[in-house]
């Protein structure tokens, strides 16, 4: 029977049920974020002081916070900022990580310098480097993206460089060179397409890390301004009410866990499928 490659791709990918579930969960979260104004039951900033710190119930499914704002609505709107920042970090770190990784892996003269800078950046714990960068740049959504991109780019560089080192020695690259294909084209077509799958896998993992890290930064007061509902700022502002109203802290945290976990599971599924060593076994 004839099968389209795309169908085959999805069939392989979702062989494990857990990966399918995680993928569906991700789709639901992203759709809710995109359609927030239509999906959320209330305005995320609508203050109703009489209904402050109400437990989950019929009117507010996940309860209300210290200003009587609906927590479910804030989580749905918060997904926009949290996932939006995470996605932006992925785009930026993939772009620069791939570029520098290709250059370091292909040109031996650049390798030493690039990798020492990578070592230096990776000698600092993620969150410490991120909080330092945000402190220097100033706290805003844009700077959080910039800081986290600087934190995660070295990981991508390492992965791309390692793959490039292997691929540049393969016969087809040599053949391309012998045929007179320009270095630029060899890098941007022949090698890039072959490092795409490890980069794609890294992308989902970095997405998950970035969502977690953004929450951590916002929690420390070094992230996005507190007016903007993100899952991290919700926990940060809710923590002092946790004694009377645990739901203020519980639900935004569950949202983070659910999103990060789904990304990680999908990333695992992608890796299992794209890894040529494992592919035979499937």
């Amino acid at each position: 029977m004839e099968q389209s490659p795309l169908l085959l791709f999805f069939r392989r990918m979702f062989r494990r049920k857990l990966v399918l579930i995680a993928f569906l969960v991700l789709c639901v979260i992203m759709l809710m974020a995109l359609l927030a104004p239509w999906v959320a039951p209330y305005e995320p900033t609508a203050i109703k002081v009489i209904r402050r710190l109400k437990p989950p119930g019929e009117l507010n499914w996940l309860g209300t916070d210290e200003f009587g704002r609906d927590i479910l609505s804030r989580i749905i709107y918060g997904a926009r900022a949290s996932l939006g920042i995470g996605f932006a970090v992925v785009l930026v770190s993939m772009t620069f990580g791939t570029l520098f990784g290709l250059l370091a892996g292909y040109f031996r003269s650049l390798d030493g310098l690039v990798m020492r800078v990578v070592d230096a950046l990776m000698a600092l714990p993620d969150i410490l480097l991120a909080i330092f960068l945000v402190a220097v740049l100033g706290a805003s959504a844009f700077n959080v993206v910039l800081a986290l991109s600087i934190v995660y780019t070295p990981r991508v560089i390492r992965v791309v460089r390692a793959s490039t080192l292997v691929i540049r020695e393969l016969p087809f690259v040599e053949a391309a060179r012998a045929l007179g294909v320009s270095t630029r084209r060899i890098l941007s077509v022949h090698i890039l397409l072959n490092v795409a799958s490890p980069v794609l896998v890294q992308a989902t993992f970095i997405f998950a890390y970035a969502v977690l890290a953004e929450a951590g930064l916002s929690f420390l007061g070094a992230g996005v301004p507190p007016e903007l509902p993100t899952w991290g700022t919700m926990i940060a502002s809710g923590q002092q009410y946790a004694d009377q109203a645990f739901w203020v802290v519980l639900f935004p945290g569950l949202a983070i866990v659910l999103a990060a976990l789904s990304l990680q599971v999908v990333g695992d599924g992608l890796r299992d499928m794209l890894d040529p060593k494992l592919r035979k076994a499937l």
């Binding site: 070592d119 714990p125 402190a135 220097v136 977690l212 951590g216 929690f219 946790a242 802290v249």
Partner: protein, 313 residues
């Protein structure tokens, strides 16, 4: 051996130099004059000019950088703007909680992660493996500050088993310190055990398919002896690496957990320095943390030679 060790030390110095360079120049991106920041709102232009001279801020930036490097190389990390004392002293005062938190957390992570990883490799594909792998995946994706808040609610506020926050009175007995560290160390241990589980499992799976394991089994050795002595002994190198790196990253990476539990450690120092824009403290802490990280890395390499005679310097 000495040649290789020398080369490692050389690259260590280069990495530290790059960290210092990065920290210095990135800090200069920050808006505002450091001298004006130090003196506050009421400072006159003359005061600021005088202080700029004292700190050498009037010199060209490259000269400033070289002077700063010279100070760092001799162990002087500068003066805190707000704490009125040398940065190195401020860090030393905060080192104890951070050290014990990292030690206990990595112990919890290893005590949970290594046996779980072994079990999941031995019973590969079975229920145990699926449960362990699932839990490890979950643990890796829980924000530590959130788990901390939940644990505080459960075990400190509701059940009253542990203190809610802090590190006890100055001079409190060590047992009381341990009580304060129990919850944060458990939280960090759980979150960080995931990576150890993964590495242990992968390393054990690798070794278990080797020939000498089959030999050991065919000699009639008990399965426990084969797994724990023959396999685990040979799977140790990657496991030591991941445990060591976890410890190294916890020294400066426990910022959020220290903040949630109000532990007066290095992470807490950094957060308050960030909020007060006390740049000398931030710079100093970054350099100390990176220094500890590269030193632990070197130590891991040296330990290899003892664990695995095949690795020779």
């Amino acid at each position: 051996m000495w040649l290789k060790l020398g080369r490692r030390l050389g690259s260590l110095i280069i990495v530290m130099f790059l960290v210092a360079t990065m920290v210095f120049f990135l800090t200069r991106l920050a808006p505002g004059d450091p001298a004006a920041l130090m003196l506050g709102d009421q400072a006159t232009a003359e005061d600021i000019a005088r202080l700029r001279q004292v700190y050498g801020l009037d010199k060209p930036i490259l000269v400033q950088f070289l002077l700063w490097l010279k100070e760092i190389a001799t162990g002087n990390l500068g003066q805190s703007i707000f704490l009125q004392r040398p940065v190195i002293q401020a860090i030393a005062e905060r080192a104890e909680p951070t050290f014990f938190l990292a030690l206990f957390s990595v112990s919890v992570a290893a005590l949970v992660g290594i046996p779980a990883g072994i079990a999941s490799a031995v019973w590969r594909g079975r229920l145990v493996d699926q449960i362990v792998s699932g839990l490890a995946m979950l643990a890796a994706n829980i924000p530590s500050f959130w788990l901390g808040l939940i644990f505080i609610q459960l075990f400190a506020v509701r059940l009253g088993w542990f203190p809610v926050a802090g590190y006890g009175e100055p001079g409190a007995p060590f047992m009381e310190r341990i009580l304060h560290l129990a919850l944060p160390a458990t939280v960090l241990g759980i979150v960080n055990s995931a990576l150890i589980v993964r590495f242990t499992r992968a390393s054990m799976l690798d070794v278990l398919s080797d020939d000498y394991i089959r030999t050991a089994r065919s000699k009639g050795l008990s399965e426990a002896r084969v797994v724990l002595r023959h396999a685990f002994g040979n799977a140790l190198v990657p496991i030591i690496t991941v445990v060591g790196l976890t410890a190294a990253l916890l020294v400066g990476g426990a910022i959020v957990t220290e903040t949630v539990f109000g532990l007066p450690g290095i992470g807490n120092l950094v957060v308050s320095a960030v909020l007060r824009r006390d740049y000398p403290v931030i710079q100093g802490a970054l350099i100390v943390v990176a220094g500890i990280y590269v030193l632990i890395n070197l130590l891991i390499d040296i330990i290899y030679t003892f664990v695995d005679p095949r690795v020779r310097y």
